[in-house]
C-alpha cells in the first residue's frame, strides 16, 4: 500500500493540479466510498496509446490472466459501430472494470467503479474503427488483471 501511495504521489507531482490529486485520492481509496462521483478522467479517455491509458488509470503492471476474467466479444464484427462486449470476473473484492480497444483513436472505452455488493459483471457496446484487440482490465484487491481478445471488423464504426 505504501509503495502504491508513493507512486501516485510521484504521478501527482508530475501531472499537477486536480488530476494528480485525483490519482492520489484514488490511491488512498478515498473514492471508494461512492459518495461523490469521481471527476471524469480526461487524461485516460484522451489517451492515444495503451501505455498512456494505463498510466492515466494509475495501473502499474496488469497481470495477464485469462482464467480470472471472462471476456466475451464476437470473433467477427460485421458492424464496427456496435460491438457487444461483456466482462465477467469472480475475483474477490473487485474495485474497477475498464474496457479498452487498442487501435481506436481513444483507446479507453469505459471505466466502472464497482462498489461493494455489485457483481463483477459489465456488458456494453463499443465502437471499433478496425480489427483490434479488446482488453478487459479488472482491479481486484488492489491488483490489476487483464485479458485481451481480437475482434475482426469488416466495416469500421468511425465515420463509416
Amino acid at each position: 500500500m505504501k509503495a502504491e501511495v508513493d507512486l501516485n504521489r510521484r504521478k501527482a507531482l508530475k501531472a499537477g493540479g486536480s488530476m494528480g490529486l485525483l490519482a492520489l485520492f484514488g490511491g488512498l481509496g478515498l473514492l471508494q466510498s461512492g459518495a461523490a462521483l469521481a471527476e471524469w478522467n480526461k487524461a485516460a479517455f484522451s489517451a492515444k496509446s495503451m501505455d498512456d491509458a494505463l498510466n492515466a488509470l494509475g495501473v502499474i503492471i496488469p497481470e495477464n490472466s485469462a482464467t480470472a476474467i471472462q471476456l466475451t466479444v464476437p470473433e467477427i464484427a460485421e458492424n464496427g459501430s456496435v460491438v457487444p462486449v461483456s466482462v465477467a470476473s469472480n475475483l474477490a473484492d473487485i474495485e474497477q472494470i475498464s474496457i479498452l480497444v487498442d487501435k481506436n483513436p481513444n483507446v479507453l472505452a469505459a471505466s466502472f467503479v464497482i462498489p461493494q455488493g455489485t457483481e463483477g459483471l459489465i456488458t456494453t457496446r463499443v465502437k471499433m474503427g478496425q480489427t483490434a484487440n479488446v482488453i478487459a482490465l479488472v482491479k481486484a484487491g488492489g491488483k490489476y488483471y487483464r485479458v485481451a481478445k481480437e475482434v475482426k471488423v469488416t466495416a469500421g464504426g468511425c465515420g463509416g
Binding site: 461512492g34 459518495a35 462521483l37 469521481a38 471524469w40 478522467n41 485516460a44 479517455f45 459501430s81 456496435v82 460491438v83 461483456s86 480497444v101 481506436n104 483513436p105 481513444n106 483507446v107 479507453l108 472505452a109 469505459a110 471505466s111 466502472f112 467503479v113 464497482i114 462498489p115 455488493g117 455489485t118 457483481e119 459483471l121 459489465i122 456488458t123 456494453t124 457496446r125 463499443v126 465502437k127 471499433m128 464504426g157 468511425c158 465515420g159
Partner: protein, 104 residues
Amino acid sequence: MGNPMKIRATAKDGVTEVKILMQHEMETGLRKEADGTLVPAWFITEVKAQYQGRTVLDGQFGQSISKNPYLLFRFKGGAVGEKIAVSWVDNKGDSRTDEATIAA
C-alpha cells in the same frame, strides 16, 4: 435534457439485474460531414446508478462507446417494487435521470 432512458430491473435470488438503454448520439469528434466539416464531440462521460441512495454502479464513458449506449450490471439486494435511479452527464454538461421499478 436528453431523451428518456429505457431501464429494466429484475430481482431474482437476491440479485438485481439492471439493463439500461440510453439515447445519445455519442459523437466521437472525429467524424466528418459530407462537406468535410468535423462533427464536434458529444458523448456521455458519466453514468451512475443508485438504489435507495446507495451507489450501485459508477461508470465513466469515452468516445468509443456506441451510439445509444447499452449497459448491463448486477448488484446484490434490491427488492421488487423498489426504485432504481440512473443518471448520466455528457461532455456538454447536459444530464438526465430516470427511474425504474424493480420487477420480479
